[in-house]
Subunit: 330 residues, 2 copies
């Protein structure tokens, strides 16, 4: 896990250089209608427009492009967005990719990962020790394991989102809300903003029942969730990482927690007001910006919309009841 | 209508300067999955991400910011996207805006125009001579009429889409497909590309039954449609304009025509593969890129996705049957 060397601003700049011409610079969007809901200016970093439909391509490409010459292939463990990012980056760089995915991952994520040329191996989330399976398979097949968040180059790659935010807004005092699973993006953005715009304070956002990061930050130590499925599949990690947690602890404000109904309502508003497709786990930061006005500070709030890989039935559910329960507390 | 002076590249550059810091530079997106459908590389200019959800804000802001000092207000005639563009630009510039809209315009467009501070006056499409009503009302209330396409500054403002396309791609030989109503955007983009990337040839795209531009180009003279409602409400003009048609005639390749089913299927693919919300009239260029592969030339095709202001029932229809009839001829 390369845990011995810290993730530095230079590592993020190096990742940015390797990603140039490959990762998209995604726009920072806004709508007066969203401002009216939130009661302050809302800026939305549209990472659902990144290649493969989520920010994960950044970290994947950064990590794979840092592998030593002669690496034959990579193995990744992912519910679907890291999977697609690794699959595309591997195809671009001529590496073999094997992806371990839970059998109940969204259909669109399973299908896309395979369509991008990766070998997809599914496992039963309830009965499998996925980390043990991954380590065993990587060893047996001579593949490099690319951890979805506890990997310095992955964190650095995700940090390029923070560099872009700092360049795209003049705002220098605001909360930056980030949809948070294991904390790779959250840590990377926090490090980038520490270097470029230290008045922008990162706040992790999680779905109700999966607030391991918020609880870990409060407790001052890693405090896991139980493992179980949920609507926000992209960010249902059990705990922040060994590499990411110390960064979150040092740089982030308190975690925020939203309900599934609020995530769905944020999806409906992103559809209507930004013309963006978000998945539930990619909408929790926007949900917090819109529906938890008292929990954030400042005239402006920035939310990272992290992904848009959502099965059609879930998206229709968001459009059909979007907004109904959004204002009830999480 | 200021028809005496031609629209020049300098006028587009002047519009670009006035729009800087106001209009968004929208991204040029792509997906390997769309490339596979089209059989060539597909680049999508995502103007649905422009302020107010369509490119129309560009022309509106360009025209309103060119009005003489002392202008009190403006009047516009629009099924909804020009309406919202004018409403927002007027609010930003401190001008009064009165918008004449058909009473059967999409709900989202009527509501947004009013919410942006404009006075909305509706008329019955079947029984009203809208041009006469607009002229009369502008005169009676001392308002400047902002034509949706036959206005030099509007065309120049829309032309900034072409400047951005030329800057965002290295491709120098390709068809550029543009959703076409009265031809303001199509003419503006064609002029911009003539100056910046003459190997990029503009092709207007229209819905079946409303192909006045394609027929006019073939006939060598303006050849109107009957006026009637249809799915692609944003681009159901009866004829190209006096200002726009000569530009289209000089610069554009043959027009393309798609079916409503193809427009809906393109909306479903934009949702799934680009994470974008498109309205039917904003999806016809992408539909032609995807479903009329034999009608365009080159290894790459560029499609302008012009808007995303769609009522929920139409969007759900696109998601529910998206793709079903897409490959049948228009």
């Amino acid at each position: 896990m390369a845990g011995d060397v810290p993730v530095t601003p230079d590592l993020i700049l190096a990742a940015e250089a390797r990603l140039a011409g490959h990762a998209r610079v995604t726009p920072l969007l806004s709508s007066p209608f969203l401002d009216a809901v939130a009661g302050r200016r809302v800026l939305v970093k549209a990472e659902c427009l990144q290649h493969t439909g989520s920010f994960k391509y950044r970290g994947a490409r950064a990590a794979l492009s840092a592998l030593p010459e002669g690496t034959e292939g990579v193995l990744a463990l992912s519910s679907g967005n890291h999977a697609q990012g690794v699959a595309l980056a591997a195809r671009e760089l001529g590496l073999k990719a094997v992806i371990l995915m839970p059998s109940d991952a969204p259909r669109i994520k399973l299908d896309n990962t395979a369509a991008l040329g990766a070998e997809v191996v599914t496992y039963d989330r309830a009965t499998t020790d996925r980390d043990a399976l991954a380590a065993e398979m990587a060893h047996a097949r001579g593949l490099e394991l690319i951890h979805p968040f506890d990997n310095r180059h992955v964190i650095a790659g995700q940090g390029t989102v923070g560099l872009e935010i700092a360049a795209q807004t003049d705002t220098r005092g605001a909360d930056v809300l980030v949809c948070c699973g294991g904390g790779g993006l959250t840590a990377g953005v926090a490090l980038a903003l520490e270097a470029r715009a230290p008045g922008l304070r990162v706040r992790p956002v999680e779905p109700e029942g999966f607030d391991d990061v918020a609880r870990s930050l409060r407790a001052g130590q890693i405090t896991p969730n139980a493992a179980r499925p949920g609507l926000c599949d992209a960010i249902l990690t059990q705990a922040p990482g060994q590499l990411t947690f110390p960064i979150l602890q040092r740089l982030c404000g308190p975690g925020l927690v939203v309900s599934d109904a609020q995530a769905l309502a944020a999806m409906a508003l992103a559809y209507e007001r930004l013309k963006l497709v978000l998945e539930p786990g990619g909408a929790v930061a926007l949900a917090a910006a819109l529906f938890l006005p008292d929990a954030v500070e400042g005239d402006t709030v920035i939310a990272v919309a992290t992904g848009g890989n959502v099965d059609r039935d879930i998206f229709l559910r968001a459009l059909n009841n979007g907004g109904a329960d959004a204002h009830s507390p999480a």
